[in-house]
């Protein structure tokens, strides 16, 4: 049932060692969660599961520090069991990383997770980690990435240097899963690099704060995290084969924080993956503090999403507008609501998303998510998931 790879076996072995040694300074935390999804329409492909789906997840985390906190070890593993989709049932090392901190530099060694960027509707600049797409189609869940990361902290900015040995394939839903292409993505993968998933990728990023402005400039040279999906015909029928090109990607991210206005911009320039292209996400978030004489804050978000690739079949958001609202109740239960619509300016295709959560008692969190798609044309990437409107309930116990 589970797809277990050698690195995952190492993770499990490591977890067992940690458990058995019962280190006194060991600090465990994490969560276990149950998830129930209801799909409001029948699937497009008969092989896909019907209307509801049960899943469980666990993410235990171990942290230990020594040498006056100058050295630390963080180990975060992830387990998912899914009722129908054998590809979604999986195990991953999210992080297994040693950090050493000196006065003006830091060194990280191991499997890590890194986030770059500022915008809300999509994350163009963020490129170090592969998306764990079977977890959630929003792409916010990431697979652990092997890395050596040296960070230099200087008055003129922070420079992060990355050497990334080894590549993680994007996860895709299996035959019986929802949220997938039709035909499904094959297990077989192809690479531009002869080293395949053993290629060593490189990245560098500089960030600096100038008063109200936070600026980042980055470059990545390596295997694209985003594959091209090439139709192919193995003996058992038509499939899509992921093809990972070697790319150069330069990224800029800027945020200006001017009182209640947050102005955000991310731009990328990518070459090596078919035609050279540019993409952009830019907009603002405006916060009404203490809305209607309450304790609640209401943030209104608007972002424009653009991609100049000619072949629009590749790009979900090529000329789209995102409008959203974030309501934070600031209450004891930390109740929150995030609502957004991404709509294509030309075709009127719409992607609706709603996320709400609140704490129940001291250690439970109840969350609801909804995703709905309307008016998608048959030649667009979102077409094959346009029957996958979903309402998801999750109850998590944190420890």
């Amino acid at each position: 049932m589970f797809k277990v790879k050698s690195c995952q076996l190492i993770a499990c072995a490591f977890a067992c060692v940690l458990l058995s040694t019962q280190l006194v300074a060991a600090e465990w935390s994490g969560y276990v969660a149950g998830e129930y999804r209801v799909f409001t329409q029948s699937p497009l492909d008969v092989k896909q599961q019907e209307n509801s789906n049960l899943a469980f997840a666990a993410e235990p985390e171990f942290y230990h520090s020594w040498n006056d906190d100058k050295d630390s070890l963080l180990f975060t593993s992830f387990f998912r069991w899914d009722e129908h989709d054998e590809e979604r049932s999986h195990v991953d090392i999210r992080e297994l990383i040693w950090t050493h901190v000196a006065y003006d530099w830091e060194l990280k060694l191991g499997v890590g997770k890194v986030f770059w960027g500022v915008t809300e509707s999509q994350h163009l600049v963020d490129i170090i980690n592969q998306s764990d797409l079977v977890e959630n189609i929003d792409g916010e869940d990431k697979l652990g990435q092997p890395m050596v990361n040296l960070t230099l902290i200087k008055d003129w900015g922070v420079v992060e240097l990355f050497v990334l040995p080894g590549f993680r394939e994007r996860t895709f839903a299996g035959d019986s899963g929802r949220f997938r292409s039709i035909p499904a993505v094959d297990d077989h993968t192809e690479y531009e690099s002869a080293a395949k998933d053993k290629r060593v990728d490189l990245a560098v990023r500089w960030t600096q704060t100038f008063d109200d402005w936070d600026v980042g400039l980055s470059h990545f040279y390596g295997t694209s995290r985003e594959p091209r999906l090439i139709p192919s015909m193995p003996p058992n029928g038509l499939v899509l084969t992921p093809f990972y090109d070697v790319i150069h990607q330069t990224g800029i991210d800027v945020q200006a924080t001017l009182d209640e206005w947050l102005w955000k911009l991310e731009v990328i320039h990518r070459s090596g993956q078919g035609e050279t292209f540019n993409a952009l996400t830019g907009g603002f978030e405006y916060t009404f503090v203490g809305v209607m004489d309450s304790n609640a804050d209401l943030g209104v978000i608007a972002e424009y999403l653009y991609d100049d690739r000619d072949d629009s079949a590749l790009v979900a958001f090529d000329n789209d507008l995102f409008v959203g609202a974030r309501l934070a109740m600031n209450d004891a239960a930390s109740s929150e609501l995030l609502f957004g619509i991404i709509s294509d300016i030309k075709t009127n295709a719409r992607f609706y998303s709603i996320e709400a959560s609140r704490r129940v008692g001291e250690s439970w969190v109840l969350s609801v998510e909804g995703r709905f798609i309307s008016n998608v044309e048959s030649n667009k990437p979102l077409f094959t998931v346009h029957h996958d409107d979903v309402i998801q309930l999750e109850l998590a116990r944190h420890f």
Binding site: T257, D259, V289
Partner: protein
């Protein structure tokens, strides 16, 4: 010469007598600030107990570090330990005297550092009855002052001064502060909302002196008179001059705060 000296003394006492309530209020604030100067850095643990009108309780635990800055507001880092779902979340702030503060929030699940708007001064801290501005560094220049009277709090002699925020986005028109004559620290603060209605009362108690100079409370209780909710903040493990530097208060340290 002697006559001149005498005249000088008489003039001085006349000036002292003629000190306006504004001048006296400011003098108390300046003295309180001076008494607390030079603490360098301080770390402490906090337990926050929220109680609603029905008496239901919920608990937050966090640790905070503060770096004293001269000529600017202090830098602060707060790391949340409980409730478990926000464990590892951390909050970095560079307070400024009159300019808007700089604030960053670290979200551990996404590994994301977010610069956030500091307009939320009046907003509740962690769903409690404390607002962000109640817990941020109190720079002298942030307020105007008015001395009202002397009045003891639980038998401890205190000055009573009225304090009005000069910075933008405060949730208060004014607050009335009882400052201990011995410690030059607040014993009680009564807050009035933007409509100048009675909003909250904070009682500060169980002061202890550190390094022979710096007084810090062990307990703060904030009572909201409008909602009948109450938040108790217990401090422990105060540590002064642990050698923290500005490097302990930047975005890189925010990302690995534990």
């Amino acid at each position: 010469m002697k006559k001149l000296g005498l005249l000088f003394l008489v003039l001085c006492s006349a000036f002292a007598y003629a000190q306006t309530p504004e001048e006296k209020g400011l003098e108390i604030a300046v003295k309180a600030d001076k008494r607390d100067n030079g603490f360098g850095d301080v770390a402490s643990k906090m337990t926050m107990t929220l109680k609603n009108a029905n008496g239901d309780e919920s608990v937050r635990e966090m640790r905070s570090k503060t770096l004293e800055m001269t000529g600017d507001g202090d830098k602060g880092l707060t790391i949340f330990d409980k409730p478990a779902d926000i464990k590892g979340t951390a909050f970095l702030s560079f307070t400024h005297i009159l300019d808007a503060d700089d604030q960053w929030l670290y979200l551990p699940a996404l590994k994301r550092v977010k610069r956030i708007s500091s307009k939320n001064k009046s907003g509740p801290f962690m769903g409690s009855e404390f607002a962000f501005e109640d817990l941020s560094s109190r720079e002298v220049e942030k307020y105007s002052y008015l001395y009202i009277k002397d009045e003891p709090v639980n038998g401890e002699d205190a000055f009573v001064i009225e304090v009005r925020p000069k910075y933008k986005y405060s949730g208060y028109t004014r607050s009335v502060v009882w400052i201990s004559k011995e410690k030059y620290q607040p014993l009680k603060i009564v807050y009035y909302d933007r409509k100048n209605s009675l909003l909250k009362t904070m009682s500060v108690s169980d002061y202890q002196q550190y390094l022979g100079q710096y007084w810090r409370p062990n307990v703060m209780v904030m009572t909201n008179h409008q909602t009948k909710k109450e938040t108790r903040l217990d401090f422990s493990d105060y540590q002064f001059k642990t050698g923290l530097t500005k490097r302990d208060f930047d975005k890189s340290s925010l990302k690995r705060a534990r």
